[in-house]
């Protein structure tokens, strides 16, 4: 109850937290791969006069995939920046109420975007959009992104439930 660490809770919400953390780490690994690709590209063009082909477009796609994978983790770790100054004297119960409302917004946004980007994926697929150099099909990038959005919905449900519990008990957890 006292710990805010993302990893140490038991039960189904503990499992969900580990999955969300693991997913963010996987996104971090994608980020590292993009870093590596850029380093190889610079060395390649400096040493043998040949950059990594398609490094621009793969950077764009890879960073987008990584950034989406971070969103659920931000939600469960409460990392989205707020201006606390106006409510610094509010009681824990009020603060829990504010964060309940914020979780509701996150939940609706995640669900809306999941729904719309599913159609985005279908569009990309039916129009056959590909990157210019490597001809990488754009819709494939949407698959991990949709998983990230589904996890964002899950993360918002977790924070929603926690705020509801805090409102009931009157304590911050």
């Amino acid at each position: 109850m006292a710990s805010r660490d993302a990893t140490v809770r038991a039960g189904p919400s503990g499992l969900a937290r580990s999955v969300i953390r693991g997913w963010a780490l996987a996104g971090g690994v994608v980020l590292l791969l993009i870093v590596l690709m850029n380093v190889v590209s610079v060395l390649g063009s400096a040493l043998i006069g040949r950059p990594f082909p398609g490094d621009f477009e793969m950077t764009e796609i890879g960073i987008a995939i990584a950034a989406f994978s971070f969103l659920p983790y931000c939600q469960i770790t409460d990392s989205n920046v707020t201006a606390d100054i106006f409510t610094s004297k509010a009681s824990p119960r009020w603060i829990a109420l504010f964060s309940l409302v914020a979780s509701l917004v996150a939940l609706s946004f995640g669900a809306l975007l999941l729904w719309r980007m599913w159609y985005g994926l279908l569009d990309q697929k039916s129009y056959g959009y590909e990157t210019t150099i490597l001809q990488f099909p754009q819709w494939i990038a949407f698959i991990p992104i949709l998983i990230s959005l589904a996890l964002l919905v899950l993360a918002s449900l977790i924070t929603l439930r926690e705020s509801a519990a805090s409102i009931k008990s009157g304590n911050l957890n």
Binding site: Y73, A106, G120
Partner: protein, 452 residues
């Protein structure tokens, strides 16, 4: 149109209320932007935009330096760079009255050259320098004030995350912005060191002399600084001289700080995992705000709010310089309530059109312009000024985040004392802003020189 404008301003009011009620700033922007666009355009267009809007924002190439610079900063906080920098600075400056504090400022600037975040700079350097300052009997307020202020140096010394974000909002060239930031950033370092010299002259007990370093210590400490200078030189120098784009440069920076940390056996799997998770938090937070800002921007420009504000200011009869100063003052005030990144993303889309309008449009000649410079130059000059003033919020009450971070490290010093200790540095910052306002050439000279 008047109706659209009314809805636009109504939306702004709702946004402010939501932010005041602890709604995460990103979600407040998304909510107001989304509902506003739906009200003005009907749901169909917005629903169709949502299919690719977020992906389009997240996959902007210029933005890819942001997570990389964040990761570079997060690895460098664990790589032992801060100790080396402080030790070297101390060997050079430690023997002066107030010298250990001056060293802390120099080390903060050095750390700012590999890390783009003020808070990370303040807390990392705080952990290293605070115990030393206390050991030499520095007064609590000078010690904590120095470190809280030292953190803001990072905003202008490249790589700076907020600088990249500013460049993307106003569509400025990131490389040009990095060049423009260097001299104003160095001026801040010099001013902060002079500030310490003045403080210890007036209150000699607040900062005693340190010991002069032995010849051997001087040499070995200075040598230790070489890798940091090398990383900065390669990454930022490479960008300045056009060897590579910011993104590959940032990638090389990540690799180099990692290698540095690994060679010193400070960065292993655990440290990288932590650095990646911290990067995930910051990057996700920033990207979500960027998305929110884009949705808000679509709504506001559809409602005609920025245009209305620009016209209203242009017809107010105020001199261009007065308007610029008013905008900067309002940034300082807003900066007291919000973090600098959210501030930049919220305010610049409104402020920038105002400045372009009073300057005479996007393509005005320098001779006919309200500020006597092209709008491209204005973009750079205003950007540097805006970044300096939004960071002042980090060291002023009520939400001075840098002060909070340092106070958490120095529990024996009351937060009041830290705010008192920061005050002289705040004064130095005001002097810097006035100088940069009076002489735009200080900012514009280096980009002109380097881009030939």
């Amino acid at each position: 149109m008047a109706d659209a404008l009314f809805i636009g301003f109504g939306g702004l009011a709702v946004l402010v209320i939501l932010i005041a009620l602890r709604m995460p700033i990103a979600y407040a922007m998304i909510l107001v932007g989304g509902i506003g666009v739906t009200l003005l355009n009907g749901p169909a267009i917005f629903m169709s935009q949502l299919k690719t809007l977020a992906y389009g924002r997240f996959s902007i190439y210029d933005l890819s330096v942001v997570p990389m610079f964040i990761l570079m900063g997060n690895i460098s906080t664990k790589a032992g760079l801060s100790q080396d920098l402080f030790r070297a600075a101390n060997a050079w400056l430690g023997w002066l009255r107030g010298g250990v504090a001056m060293s802390a400022i120099a080390a903060c600037a050095g750390f700012g050259s590999v890390c783009g975040s003020s808070l990370a700079t303040a807390s990392t350097m705080g952990q290293v320098a605070l115990p030393e300052l206390r050991r030499y009997n520095y007064s609590g307020s000078l010690a904590t004030g120095t470190l809280a202020a030292g953190g803001v140096l990072g905003i202008l010394i490249p790589p700076s995350i907020v600088l990249v974000i500013y460049a993307i909002i106003v569509e400025a060239n990131i490389v040009t912005m990095f060049m423009a930031a260097l001299i104003p950033g160095l001026i801040a370092v010099i001013f902060f060191i002079l500030t310490i010299a003045i403080v210890v002259m007036v209150w000699p007990n607040s900062g005693p002399k340190g010991e002069a370093a032995s010849r051997q210590e001087f040499l070995s400490a200075t040598l230790r600084m070489v890798p940091v200078l090398g990383i900065f030189g390669l990454v930022i120098g490479g960008i300045y001289f056009g060897f590579f784009n910011p993104t590959p440069a940032a990638a090389i920076g990540v690799a180099l700080v990692w290698i540095y940390g690994a060679a010193r056996r400070l960065v292993g799997i655990k440290a990288i995992t932590d650095a990646l998770l911290d990067t995930a938090k910051t990057t996700g937070m920033i990207y979500l705000i960027l998305l929110g800002a884009e949705m808000l921007k679509i709504f506001m420009s559809r409602g005609g709010v920025p245009q209305a504000m620009a016209e209203w200011m242009a017809n107010s009869g105020l001199a261009p310089m007065t308007i610029l100063i008013l905008l900067l003052v309002s940034l300082i005030l807003l900066g007291c309530l919000m973090d600098s990144l959210s501030m930049i993303l919220l305010a610049i889309p409104f402020f920038w059109p105002v400045l372009v309008e009073i300057n005479g449009g996007d393509y005005v000649n320098a001779a006919d312009a309200g500020f006597g410079m092209t709008s491209e130059d204005l973009k750079i000059w205003f950007g540097i000024l805006a970044l300096i003033v939004v960071e002042l919020g980090l060291i002023t009450p009520p939400v001075g985040m840098n002060v909070f971070v340092i106070s958490a490290l120095a529990r024996d010093v009351p937060m009041r004392d830290t705010f008192v200790g920061v005050a002289p540095f705040f004064g130095a910052e005001m002097v810097r802003v006035v100088i940069l306002l009076a002489f735009p050439a200080i900012t514009l000279w280096l980009p002109r020189l380097l881009s030939g």
